[in-house]
Symmetry: D2
Subunit: 288 residues, 4 copies
Amino acid sequence: MQDPDAAGLYTLVISCPDRPGLVAEVSGCVAHHGGTLAESHNHTDHQHSWFFMRNVIGGAPEFERQAFCDEFERIAQTNAMEWSITESTQKERVVILASHASHCLADLLYRWKSGDLPCDIPCVVSNHENLRSMVEWHGIPFHYVPVPKTGKEEAFANIEGIIDRHNADTVVLARFMQIMPPNLCTKYASRLINIHHSFLPSFIGANPYQKAYERGVKLIGATCHYVTTDLDEGPIIEQDVVRVDHSKNKNDLVRLGRDVESSVLSRGLRYHLEKRVLVHGNKTVVFN
Amino acid sequence: MQDPDAAGLYTLVISCPDRPGLVAEVSGCVAHHGGTLAESHNHTDHQHSWFFMRNVIGGAPEFERQAFCDEFERIAQTNAMEWSITESTQKERVVILASHASHCLADLLYRWKSGDLPCDIPCVVSNHENLRSMVEWHGIPFHYVPVPKTGKEEAFANIEGIIDRHNADTVVLARFMQIMPPNLCTKYASRLINIHHSFLPSFIGANPYQKAYERGVKLIGATCHYVTTDLDEGPIIEQDVVRVDHSKNKNDLVRLGRDVESSVLSRGLRYHLEKRVLVHGNKTVVFN
Amino acid sequence: MQDPDAAGLYTLVISCPDRPGLVAEVSGCVAHHGGTLAESHNHTDHQHSWFFMRNVIGGAPEFERQAFCDEFERIAQTNAMEWSITESTQKERVVILASHASHCLADLLYRWKSGDLPCDIPCVVSNHENLRSMVEWHGIPFHYVPVPKTGKEEAFANIEGIIDRHNADTVVLARFMQIMPPNLCTKYASRLINIHHSFLPSFIGANPYQKAYERGVKLIGATCHYVTTDLDEGPIIEQDVVRVDHSKNKNDLVRLGRDVESSVLSRGLRYHLEKRVLVHGNKTVVFN
Amino acid sequence: MQDPDAAGLYTLVISCPDRPGLVAEVSGCVAHHGGTLAESHNHTDHQHSWFFMRNVIGGAPEFERQAFCDEFERIAQTNAMEWSITESTQKERVVILASHASHCLADLLYRWKSGDLPCDIPCVVSNHENLRSMVEWHGIPFHYVPVPKTGKEEAFANIEGIIDRHNADTVVLARFMQIMPPNLCTKYASRLINIHHSFLPSFIGANPYQKAYERGVKLIGATCHYVTTDLDEGPIIEQDVVRVDHSKNKNDLVRLGRDVESSVLSRGLRYHLEKRVLVHGNKTVVFN
């Protein structure tokens, strides 16, 4: 994780076809402009011959972003890089979509309020009213958008409008329990994060805890993933499990599942916000 | 686990429809015959109204097995119990079926040799020759039974004969990699144990580590279960997972999977041998 | 865990010297009065020859508590039992003591509010004002009691008065960071619960995360225990760890530590509230 | 882990005072000589301003080791680097010291024989005879060196001679249970590996499982560390824990401890053999 003493100013993230000399070229360009590497991770997927890199650049006041970017753009074009550079202190704007269940939302709001989650939360959208008081106590606007079976299209257009008006960088489905329409999955590709209340690819779909109980599993889990148009099949960011046994009934599994869902979602979101997650195809590289 | 200082002589295992007073009736009968309860577990499945109990009975020399059994048989009949009583020092006879991979077999043999696994191993059967030396060094007979694609029926008849001649109580598939014919699944119901090289119900079938690698999962696991005619769907005895990340290639996943397979199988077998596993329908109660 | 469908009315907890027939005698008495055992756990510590039992008794409307207790008192006296019987629906009154750090308190309040923690919280006491708003939003009275270095005696007398006025059954130190005076440790023996921000017995005392960082450990943890006059040495209720590595600085360890502290404390408190924790000497038996 | 498809030829490991541009300088030198980076990790300890790097270099046939080393030596001297470059296929020679307990030794020998542990094992030394047959079945010479209380100095001189004659790169104490004399700790600094049968720094010294049992802990663990003259205080390579409860007696703790000891030792040794462990002061950086 980032060292607060280490003057990390910018986070540079790169993904491109692999070829020799990429680490040297990138780090050379950083050094040439007076930047230091407070953190530097890279990975080569040898199967797909693809290169991934994440650098936290320090070095104030010598390092000048604009001059660096001008030169780096040439390196990027030569190597067909997808890349981004962001100020480490610049917080992403995260809109959270929730439904009736409170556990993931409460966990995210607590972490945000205590300064533990580096983002802004411009608003929370929900198709139920029950969480309004909790959200508003945190000083965050709450938007109630019912999603009736016969008016889903209009509801999601409404939600999309809210997300856009708040300039969301990332959208989090904190147990939203609604299938996102394909156009939103595409529009927010790799920045729409879901927590699946199961250990994917097990127990896909509804009522996973009931299914897990009936199957007599000894572990239950949760999966945090990016949403794609292929339901429950998007790139996995983080997973975890908790041990259960025969003495736990379905309600116990639900309760234990809530804890693992909350912690997996908050970890996955943290990795995303710190630009630690690089997506390629249907897989992620997570530099943590 | 059983206390060596606690003079546990017999293990009494019971499964029956639930009704009030069962614990009192069973423990009263034990006490009436001078038995002590070195260990006693019970569980009621309230959904199916089913009762499970396991008692480790001590109390030598007062406790007389025959007199106890005579009286207990009446209780059992009244309550429609399935039950068994075994001497705690009497070791089950476990025939192990293996294929080419050595890790689960080596682990079981080591634990057996070091006195850590309370069973006898009258022989190992394999459809490959490569593990003969390791098995024979342990002083255990090794039977080579090829299982050709066009002669499976004969091969399995051969294997069944070996299992029967050795009076096996339990059969363990230590990465045997062959689908057991339905008649053997039925014949050895609840005493035929498999280790599935995956975290069931994920990645059912062949090449689970390849599938896990392609899916980019963050955890891989293994499942120990009783074999039924419904492939990979038998009652689960034990499961575990190990954390992986993008830096692990398919070979790493296989290597890490070997460790979790070995440990899950040996734990599951231990529970079975100590009569800690009670099966009801497609689920287990594991008193550990 | 308790089955909501299983009509558990009373929780009966027993601790006494071991002798043959105890399970039979206790369960016989329950059955004789028309009670059913929704759950029943027992354990014998063979080293100390001590017996522990916990029963969740159902069976309404036949089971009559008073008649049962009258008969059971005779059994208890004969066997030198410590015992208690409580209504399963009767919630304990838990007073929480906190200091400046919010994570454990926020976690407990959230679980309480969402109905996940079976207790009442009559008030929160803190030696800082900063958590007042969070506590009061939950509808719980907040008492500010400064604990100055030169006025500790008076402060703790004040706190003791508050605890007593609220008829607390249990007191939780949710990162209270003050050493409890011996008289309170004794007065609230086995009902004063602390979360130690370390993996006891490692790193006893102050600044454990700094020590863990300097030592380069690969795991950090937390311990929930009953408070005794012997600092940090009381009976352990629950422990857990989280994996760390060289890339985590001291602040990361503190952050990760907060999560494991919160979850270990809430688990430990749940076990306590459900009467799953039996103390004998300096050890616990936890029937979960 | 290293990718077998990725033609990693050399492993380059670097440790030096931090300054800007180190990643660029090192990776530039590799690229300049036609090397590719199959894997590349680095870490800066900002507290001590120290830089660590590990590169797996591919790029045959262009990459020439000698030419690279000639140039790199200049970089190393300028930056006060400690560094090494080794052929990735060149196996270290590991001498194992064991005592009476077999579990760690058996696990290491199995992994070595199955090709899972990239090293040669020229011999095993023990102060007991009981493990001779197991070692010799693996085709490895076994040296019996008794270590009597009154002749320790001579015994360790004997052991040192054996280690030296076999040109050991690394020495592993697989539950050797003898305190190494200071001169050997110094001579084999950062290449003498121990498994401590406890979760350091808890329960230092003898009988840790007895102590853990008496303390009633809910987790037991093991620590793999480099041996220094400061007993049990050397740099930690790897740790893990396993959950226990009141039902486990001391023998159970010993049995469960054996498993966690074996797996922690083999993981720690693997990291060491793959040059993933860099020591600085009393801490390690483990690039895995």
